[in-house]
Structure formats: C-alpha cells, structure tokens
Symmetry: C2
Subunit: 340 residues, 2 copies
C-alpha cells in the first residue's frame, strides 16, 4: 500500500510505571526524499520487544531514553522504494533500526540487505536478528557453559529465552525452562524439547523448582529478574555461571530502592553497567602460589609492599585474639599469636 504521509508513533510522555497508550502519539509527517547516496525504504515489519519499555524512560533502565517527540526505536524490515545508493535497488528488503515510522532514509551504513529466499523476512527480527543474536551472544561469549550441566532459562517461552534454551540443548546441557502459566510451560517441553518446565505462576512453584533441579544449577540465563530470582539462586552450584540478559519484571519500576540491602538494585546495576563480580576460594587455587611468591617476595623485601603485624604472646590467647577481629577493638594489622 502507498501512503501519502510518513506516519510515526512518537513518545508523547514518559510512563508512570507500566507503559500506557497515552504515552504514545501518532503524527503524520512528509515522506522524505533520498539525497545522492541515500535510499528511501518503507517499513513493513516492526519488532516488538520488552526492552523497548526501557527506551521510554522513567523505569529501572540506566540507559538513556529517547526524547519526547521522537519516534519509538526498534528494528524493522522494510522494502526499498527509492534508491540513490549503488548497493541498493528498488524492491530490496532491508533490516533497519528505524523504529516506529513507515518511511525512513539511510546512507546504507545502518541497514542490512536481506535475502528473502534464504529465510522468511520476519526471521531477520527474530532468530536471525537481534533477538537471536542476544540469545546466542549470552550463551556463547560470556561463559563456557559445560555440557552435562543444568541450564535454567527464565522467560523461556519468550523470543530470546526460547532461543537460548534451544541453544543450551544443542550444546549438551540439561535445560530447565521457567515460564508463566501452564500453557507456556507445556510448550517448553512439548514444542521446544526442554527437559523440564517450571510455571512460576503456579501455587506449587517452589515445589516445581525443587523437583526440576535435583542437581542444582550450573548455568543460568536470566531474562526476568523480580521475585523469581531469589528462589532460583538458592540452587546455584559451585562455579555456576549466570548470563544476566534482562530483568523484564523490573523494567517498569520507576524507583528501585537505593542504598539498602535490596537485591534487585544490585541486579539492575550488574545489568546496565555490566558489572562483573567474581569470587574464589584459596584451596582451589593453590597452584598459583609459586607465581605469587615470585612476584611478592621481592616487593616485600624491597619495602614496596608494607605490612603491619601485631603479636600477642601465649598459646592460650588464641580464642580471645580471634574474637578481637570482630568486636571492633583490633587495629586491623595482621594478628599473630606467638608461643614461646
């Protein structure tokens, strides 16, 4: 269909919590004309994804939101209607980031030509687009998930989660999917072939978790956040690896408590600032001790690493010495009990 104007859906207001229809406004603008080196395309397919809530602002996202009055962002598939660019011809299909508007211009640098014969065009927004890429990257590039372990995927009926879960199966993991409601849960095992499904809306949710995770969690692909996570995290095995891909349950939270012991706040920081937290245990890493000594002994000998010591005499003083570390009376210097 030919259109007489470039209809756009722009952000009219920032949401107060959940997005509302009144946060958007349709406006009709002129269809632009391509300059030399540009193409004009008409968008036909528009991806609708949870992260778009973050583009609207006033939520838990720490990323910059779009400006009021700008078209909503998001990937599209369009067809070239006019071309003054050597690489694109009228009728070519392209994947773009041009968002919620019928027409857009490009100089070619931000669009990708699609082969309509290789795969349905819609897959460029799904498994072969940013949805699939998100699932693949989080399953591939952050951790080496070991075959044989148990992978839990939340939001497993969703576009990203279902792809991540299936990649887990292909990589030899036992995959447990979490979704809301019996219909979605059934689809995880029946259609996607996952090993077990957990319905987080079910009254026996915690029992379902226990039954589905007899061997704990080795790998975790997290899309959801919110109150499900603290239940699942108890099942982490030693050396568990977690990809924090999304926190959909929190996207509409206008104000997460700060400066408190509120867990979703840390999850949000990890998510939006890519904070990497690692821990270790000395008994597992002692093979690095010679390397440590090789670096540290000269530093200590040369006085470049200073150290304080506090000696307490007498074997029987040991218990009281230990207690002094916790009652605020100790200087902080290395405490050593010396027995004559």
């Amino acid at each position: 269909m030919k259109h007489m104007s470039n209809r756009q859906i722009v952000l009219a207001a920032r949401p107060d919590g959940m997005a509302r229809l009144s946060d958007f406004k349709a406006v009709d603008t002129d269809i632009p004309s391509p300059k030399d080196g540009e193409v004009l395309f008409r968008n036909r397919l528009f991806s609708v994804d949870p992260y778009q809530r973050n583009l609207m602002g006033n939520g838990s996202s720490e990323w910059p939101a779009i400006d009021i009055g700008d078209p909503m962002g998001g990937p599209t598939v369009g067809v070239v209607e006019q071309s003054r660019h050597p690489d694109f011809a009228v009728g070519d299909h392209v994947q773009s980031w041009s968002g919620w508007q019928r027409y857009a211009l490009s100089d070619g640098s931000d669009i990708r030509k699609l082969d309509a014969d290789a795969a349905p065009l819609s897959t460029a927004l799904g498994p072969l687009g940013l949805t699939g890429f998100t699932a693949w990257y989080g399953m591939t590039k952050l951790h080496a998930f070991k075959p044989g372990g148990t992978l839990v995927v939340t939001g497993a009926a969703g576009a990203v989660g279902s792809t991540a879960a299936q990649l887990g199966k292909l990589r030899g993991l036992r995959v447990v999917g979490v979704a809301g409601g019996p219909a979605k849960a059934a689809r995880l095992t029946d259609e996607l072939g996952l090993d077990a499904a957990i319905d987080y809306k079910a009254a026996d949710f915690e029992d379902q978790v226990r039954r589905a995770l007899p061997d704990g969690i080795d790998a975790f692909f997290e899309n959801v956040g919110g109150p499900i996570f603290p239940v699942l995290m108890e099942y982490f095995n030693t050396d568990a690896k977690m990809t924090l891909c999304g926190t959909i349950a929190d996207y509409s939270e206008t104000e997460l408590p700060t400066g408190t012991n509120y867990l979703p706040r840390l999850i949000t920081l990890i998510h939006y600032r890519f904070v990497s937290i690692k821990a270790f245990a000395i008994p597992y890493v002692l093979d690095s001790f010679p390397e440590f000594l090789a670096e540290m002994a000269p530093l200590v000998r040369d006085g470049r690493i200073r150290y304080g010591e506090e000696f307490i005499d007498g074997f029987d003083a040991l218990p009281a010495a230990l207690m002094s570390l916790f009652d605020g009376t100790h200087s902080g210097r290395k405490l050593i009990v010396r027995d004559r």
Copy 2:
C-alpha cells in the same frame, strides 16, 4: 620452651552469632612421635584471621565447618623438633596448616620449609603467606584491572585489604581505601600511600564516599560486605570489575534471609559458590553479529532452532502490542507488527 603435653584449643560449641570464649576448650594430649617419613614440629606462630569464624560453623559460610572437638584450623609457623623425613632437619622452620595445637606431625606434603634469612618468619603468615596470596590472587587472576581506573578496597586497614590496596597502587590504579575509625583511615593515606580514605564509621560516611569517588569505581576489592556495600555499589562504572574476597560483616550471621530480595544473601552465594554473573549490551558487541549468523542461519534453516511468531496487523497497533508484553496477555512468541 619444652612442653610436657600437646596442648590443643578445640571447638567446644558452635557460636550463636559472634564467637565466644566458651566456644573453645583447651585440652592436653600426648605429644605424638613421628613414624618413618614423618616430622614432628612445634608451632611457634599462629595466624589469626577473620575467615576462621567460618570454620566454627553456624554462620553465613556455606563451607563445611570443623567438627566439635577438633582443633581450630589455621596456618602456623613451627620448628622441626624430630625428623624421620629426608627433606627436613631438626631446627628447620616450616609453615603448616596444623591449626591451634602446639605440636603436629607431617609427612612433608602439607608443610613448606621457610628460609629464616630471606624474610622474617612471621611474613609466611602475612604478606608472603595465605594473607598475601589471597590479596594477590584476587588482584591478579580474576580480572584485568586497568591502570588509571579507580580501585576501592574495603577492609583496607586489614591484612588482606592493605596488601590488595598496595598492589593496586603498584599497578597504576587510583586507590581508595575504606576502613572503620579515623585512626585506621589515616593510616591508609599516611602509611600505605593510598589516594583517599573513607571512614565507614563516620557520621558523614556517604559524603566521604562521594568526595572520594568523583570518577566512580572501576575496580572493587570487597572484603567486608554488610551495609557498606549497597552505598558503594551505586558508584560502579560501566564495565566495573569486582573481586568478592570476603564478607566479614556477615560471617557471624547465623541466618541470612532466603527466598527474599535480600542482597547479602546473593553476595553470600557468589562468595561461597563462586557464582559468576555477567551482563552485556547489544550495541557494544555487534562485531560478533557475523559469527552469530554463521552458526545460527543453518540451525534455523534445518529446523534445529524452532521459533514462534505472532503477527499483528496495522502500524497503529504498535503501542498496544508493546503493552501486551507486560500485562501477562501475550503468548511469549516473537511479536511482530506487520504493516500492509
């Protein structure tokens, strides 16, 4: 001094919160005799460290505690008194794990001979022992902390923290130490040469944090946990790296809430199960897109990755489509708005 018995300090009871003197008991046992291939050594120096609270059980640690009646564990420095082992002679100094007992046997596999001329023997419990190793490992092997960034070290006046902080200086980081009380805080800048100190016991703690971290936190060496952490975590920069080395503030907690949104519970799990959590953002990783397509396109084409799609017709349906993702009405399948 020669002793007539092998005095041991054993665990008499598990603490109820903070360790108490009554949780320990001194017992006198016979001094053992070495068999062929063994050495008998007398412990002279005993390391006293916060993690020993974890060995007593009934705290936040998830690691196995020692049994009631067993000697408290911990590193020692001893001197060989009898040897039936070819590698050790009477008078040799050794570092052992034999804990709170005056005498112990070893077959040589769990002791390390020390050179009393190379460094004071006590350093084998401090900067050249497990204390130093802990600081070095956490600063060296988990993350590549980049020179020029800001490193925050909590428990910075303590044995592990002060070593980690100085290693940070040697590696070109701006180092901010956190300690309790003005005396410890002053030592961080005056004795250790750190760039700034924060006194977490001061009334203006949060102001001190703000002043000390004008450029946020790039690297974090965490020894303490507890209520300080949520204040500091707000200063994480993008791509911040955190070594979770200890949670001293929580060691004496007999019961951290579970199944709630209580942040210290997650920190404890990361600490004791070495859970690794990573996040990513698509705009930063798009250079992996071709690698993704190369793996994924054949999988989708061959039906090995299944995907569901749900189409909604009409450009103007976009806002309502987005809202359906958050109100629980959506199937979870990839949602695409199609414009004719």
